[in-house]
């Protein structure tokens, strides 16, 4: 990492800081309060003829790709469609198995061959698997989750979702593993890979839905490919890290045993890093589930489609039930995969004789599935969960919303209006009044102070990308929404995190809550918010805060808890009051960690912000979303890249700030 120019003594730099900040704030205020017309128009919005129409170029290129590009005898489109056709096979198989049953023949001539695997068999199998992986408690939880799906009439949608997850996850895991291995083996490949991963993880998903739509058509396969692309990057990173972390001696042992390169990889390194790799698998599963709703925009169907459709109808009850169903599925799969991951760490020599034997589990499952498919044709109650036994809470939710709206409408509305008028609007005006040359200069100066010339150039580059592609105003609206949400999240999260850092019991409770919150797909956060506040910036901001608050709590708590105890003792013995201890010892030392948490919160906020375009914001997210509905590849990608640029500016600056601060505090970096 490049750090600030070492020639300047730290003390000096700190003292030079105050005038810098005063000047920055003063000038910004000046621009905000300056009368109309003082700031030239071109500084607020780049004139059209100076913009680089990158979006148009991209659209044209895509057009060329889809209509004219070819590899030998095949056109590019034929190749991609062929690929989609291949991917369709496993997906159709999974769907036949879990949802529709097998049929003979095509279209209207199709004859049903068997029922799908019965809901009862699926629940039983999930329960047995859970019992084997994690014992009776996990089995109970998993059976409960699946039973919910049946009981609340979500079964067939849930199975559509499950089958695409079941296919997407292995692809994501294997793809990520292979790319990670490639990066591990070849530093050059890694250098290529890392920036791509950076972009992929910051570009909002919506942005690449359009090109995928173009290349693979509308439908479950395109949705699955989008899911895989979205869920794979963490697996790549985890693989790189996990392989690097294998102790040198173990790799040396492998070579001494006479392993070939391939044996070393597959028999030594990969199995030895299995627990770490399983973390990646868990991530892939969770991200795939997070993608479920978004994927339904390009034809995934299933629970995601149900949520989306009811959200569009503003049918809160239905949406909530489908949303909860996704969550329930997420919790079940999360716990199952975590149990699979940690199982290796428990004692295993007697696990073979555990509750359910693996071989017997698989044969049993196979037989059960076959039997239920055969019998299902005769006994419809087995093939599909009988509707008569379904319950729905949707009417109650609708009633609740109605009741809230009848009784609290005025209060909620007043609260919302107050905040909009006194907080949201002024901040938005303030930011929109800042001329871009000034903001870019400010960012460059910050980069220079925190990390030197290279950082300054990087940050300027990202900012100028946004300016030159003509998305400046929308970007500032994004910054305003995201910034406010992050500040609010920090105001809630930091004190809560500190409290958790000081109290073990509180931490255990809060940890449980935020763990669960983080298993919720981002879309689900929109439901209660829309329920209470309808649409608009305010609703969006609340949803963003809810979605993004977890990391700042987690990191703050971790930062406060991991302060070396000697330092706290030193503070105590030198007579600090507990208040002084907090503000003079604990907080300064935890600050780098808190900054990392805020960084994560910003990343989550940005990704959520794009989704809130559905509830009517006017920022970059909306641009991306509109591009999706218009199938405008260029606009979607460039607006998406602008979001990525904002994310990377924040990430690089905060990263440099953290390093800087850690060095000053003498903590290991």
């Amino acid at each position: 990492m490049n750090t600030a120019a070492p020639a300047v003594p730290t003390g000096l730099r700190l003292r030079a800081g105050l005038p810098f900040w005063l000047a920055a704030i003063g000038l910004s205020l000046f621009f905000a309060l300056a009368p109309r017309g003082l700031v030239p128009r071109w500084a607020l919005r780049l004139p059209r003829d100076l913009e680089i129409p990158l979006d148009r170029y991209l659209s044209q290129w895509m057009d060329w790709l889809v209509t004219r590009a070819s590899f030998g005898p095949f056109t590019f489109k034929e190749v991609t469609r062929g690929f989609a056709w291949l991917m369709d096979w496993p997906l159709s198989l999974a769907k036949s198995l879990l949802v529709s049953g097998f049929v003979l023949g095509q279209g209207s001539a199709a004859e049903p061959l068997s029922a799908p695997v019965s809901w009862a068999a699926v629940i039983l199998f999930a329960g047995l698997l859970a019992a084997r992986l994690g014992g009776a408690r996990l089995a109970l939880l998993v059976v409960g989750c699946f039973a919910y799906l049946a009981l609340f009439g979500q079964w067939s949608s849930a199975m559509v979702t499950l089958s695409s997850i079941l296919i997407a996850v292995p692809f994501g895991v294997v793809g990520g593993l292979l790319l990670g291995i490639g990066g591990f083996r070849s530093p050059r490949f890694e250098r290529l890979l890392i920036p791509i991963l950076d972009v992929m993880q910051t570009v909002p998903v919506f942005a690449y839905l359009v090109p995928i739509l173009f290349l693979f058509g509308f439908g479950p396969v395109a949705a699955m490919i989008a899911t895989i692309i979205y869920a794979m990057p963490p697996m790549v990173r985890v693989t790189l890290l996990a392989l690097r972390r294998v102790p040198a001696e173990i790799a040396e042992f492998g070579r001494m045993a006479g392993c070939t390169r391939r044996q070393l990889l597959w028999k030594v390194l990969v199995p030895a890093s299995r627990p770490a790799l399983m973390v990646g698998v868990n991530q892939v599963i969770m991200l795939s589930l997070n993608m479920v709703i978004i994927a339904s925009m390009i034809g995934a169907g299933g629970l995601g489609y149900d949520v989306l459709a009811s959200l569009r109808r503003l049918d809160i009850g239905e949406g909530l039930e489908a949303g909860v169903a996704i969550t329930v599925l997420a919790i079940a799969l999360d716990r199952l995969s975590q149990a699979a991951a940690t199982r290796g760490e428990r004692l295993r020599h007697d696990m073979g004789r555990g509750i359910v034997d693996r071989g017997r589990l698989l044969t049993g499952a196979g037989l059960l599935a076959l039997a239920s498919m055969a019998i299902g044709r005769e006994i419809p109650a087995l093939a599909a969960y009988p509707e008569a036994f379904e319950v729905s809470t949707a009417p109650y939710w609708a009633a609740l919303v109605k009741w809230i709206n009848v009784n609290f409408f005025d209060q909620l509305e007043a609260f919302k209006t107050f905040l909009v008028l006194n907080l949201l609007v002024p901040v938005k005006r303030f930011l929109l009044a800042q001329p871009w040359p000034w903001v870019v200069a400010l960012l460059a100066a910050l980069g220079l102070r925190l990390g030197g010339v290279r950082l300054a150039l990087t940050v300027t580059g990202f900012a100028m990308f946004v300016v030159l592609t003509g998305f400046w105003t929308k970007a500032m609206i994004t910054v305003y929404l995201c910034g406010l949400a992050v500040v609010i999240a920090a105001l809630i999260g930091i004190p809560l995190g500190i409290a958790c850092g000081l109290s073990e019991r509180l931490w255990r409770f809060v940890q449980g809550v935020i763990d669960t919150l983080q298993t919720l797909p981002s879309f689900v956060y929109l439901i209660p918010v829309v329920m209470l506040f309808r649409v608009g910036d305010f609703a969006a901001m609340i949803a963003v805060v809810l979605y993004a608050v977890a990391p700042v709590i987690r990191y703050t708590a971790h930062g406060v808890r991991s302060i070396p105890p000697q330092l706290v003792e030193a503070g105590t013995t030198s007579g600090c009051t507990s208040r002084q201890l907090l503000f003079k010892v604990r907080l300064p030392l935890a600050l780098p960690e808190i900054l990392l948490g805020i960084n994560q919160t910003i990343m989550l906020a940005l990704s959520m912000l794009v989704i809130t375009a559905l509830v009517g914001t006017r920022d970059l997210g909306q641009e991306v979303y509109i591009a999706l509905t218009k199938a405008d590849v260029g606009q979607g990608l460039v607006a998406g890249l602008s979001v990525a640029a904002i994310a990377m500016i924040a990430d690089r600056l905060i990263g440099a700030g953290t390093t800087h601060m850690k060095q000053r505090l003498g903590l290991a970096t």
Binding site: P247, E249, I250, E252, F253, R255, M256, A257, G258, C259, T260, Q263, K267, V268, P271, A272, R274, G344, E345, L347, R348, H349
Partner: protein
């Protein structure tokens, strides 16, 4: 002192043929080390520092004979691990030659190297390096599995090894369920599974508690008594070196400063650094009658006879109990005499001569 002191002919063991040798081996860590060394064949410490290179092994020469326990000793960071990894070519030396059974290892192709490692070399690691996902049995059988030996054969062989190190009954445990000492027994069994001729041990007992360490040293000597491997053993503990060694090479800052039997190192330390190491050594257990004997000319009457390779600790009670000297006899040749005074000098006399 650059050149190691050549081993004396007073070796306890008959000199076997040379199994492993290295000539002018260098290992410099850092950028463009090879080119630097070609251009500066004898770089000074300053030149190395200026080039940003870390000299881990500097111009190492040594010979290991068939069947001997050759110990490489030195403080931590002196380059022992790097040297032994050069000898097994886990690390590619920057310069030099390494001869295994007369053939230059560094000239071998990947495939040949793999064959040699599969059949002729075994290695034990300081932190055991057991594969966490395999049981004891799986770990010990692993080197055979890699060679493609069928399951029944390799597991039978692995079980023999497990019994050899006294872990029968634990073969289905996972490494994390074993104590440190047990884990290293697995490491030892595993390295012996292919029946290697050359056995590398990199500080195998350093991560263990002192009591366990002693037990493992005894175990090691017992195994070597049965197996008679050629051994390169690394340690930073002179007591351990003395207990186990036929010969010891002492390393300092990447250089081998002296090679010799424990007795030679004590009697004639080549540098103050070596003397420092040997200062606290249990001399009565190391020095032999031959080392302290005086000329036998003119002595009329002997109390008895001792062998020249008898340790002082063994003969001291008898010699001290008698006013007359003992004759040092090899075959029917009279080599010299050991008297009370000579033994007392070793027992109480200054630690350094």
């Amino acid at each position: 002192m650059d050149r190691p002191v050549s081993p004396s002919p007073t070796e306890a063991k008959p000199a076997g043929e040379i199994k492993l040798a290295c000539r002018h081996v260098w290992k410099l860590f850092g950028p463009r080390a090879e080119r630097f060394l070609r251009e500066n064949p004898r770089p000074s410490a300053e030149e190395l520092r200026a080039a940003g290179l870390i000299p881990a092994v500097v111009d190492a020469d040594l010979e290991v004979r068939t069947g001997e326990i050759f110990i490489i000793m030195g403080l931590s960071g002196s380059g022992k691990s790097t040297l032994v990894r050069c000898l097994s070519r886990l690390i590619e030396p920057t310069a030099g030659q390494i001869f295994f059974e007369g053939r230059d290892l560094l000239r071998m192709r990947e495939r040949e190297m793999i064959e040699i490692r599969r059949h002729k070399m075994g290695m034990v690691f300081q932190h055991f390096a057991l594969l966490p996902h395999l049981t004891v049995l799986g770990n010990v059988a692993f080197p055979l599995e890699v060679q493609g030996v069928d399951r029944a054969t390799r597991e039978r062989r692995a079980m023999e090894m497990i019994e050899l190190v006294g872990l029968q009954g634990r073969e289905n445990y996972f490494p994390r369920e074993l104590s440190g000492g047990q884990q290293q027994r697995v490491g030892i069994a595993r390295s012996l599974a292919v029946g290697p001729e050359l056995w590398f041990l990199d500080e195998p007992f350093s991560a263990l508690d002192p009591l366990i360490r002693r037990e493992m040293q005894n175990e090691f000597l017992r195994l070597q008594g049965m197996l008679e491997k050629t051994i390169v053993f690394i340690t930073h503990d002179f007591d351990e070196a003395v207990r186990l060694a036929d010969r010891i090479a002492i390393m300092q800052d990447g250089r081998i400063v002296q090679i010799g039997t424990p007795e030679e190192l004590i009697l004639a330390p080549a540098t103050p650094y070596v003397a420092e190491f040997t200062a606290d050594a249990p001399r009565v257990k190391i020095l032999t009658a031959r080392a302290i004997m005086i000329p036998a000319d003119g002595i009329g009457e002997f109390a008895g006879e001792v062998l020249p390779q008898a340790r002082i600790a063994e003969i001291a009670p008898a010699v001290l109990a008698d006013a007359r000297p003992f004759a040092v006899v090899e075959g029917d040749r009279l080599l010299g005499a050991v008297d009370r005074e000579a033994v007392l000098r070793v027992l109480v006399g200054g630690r350094r001569q």
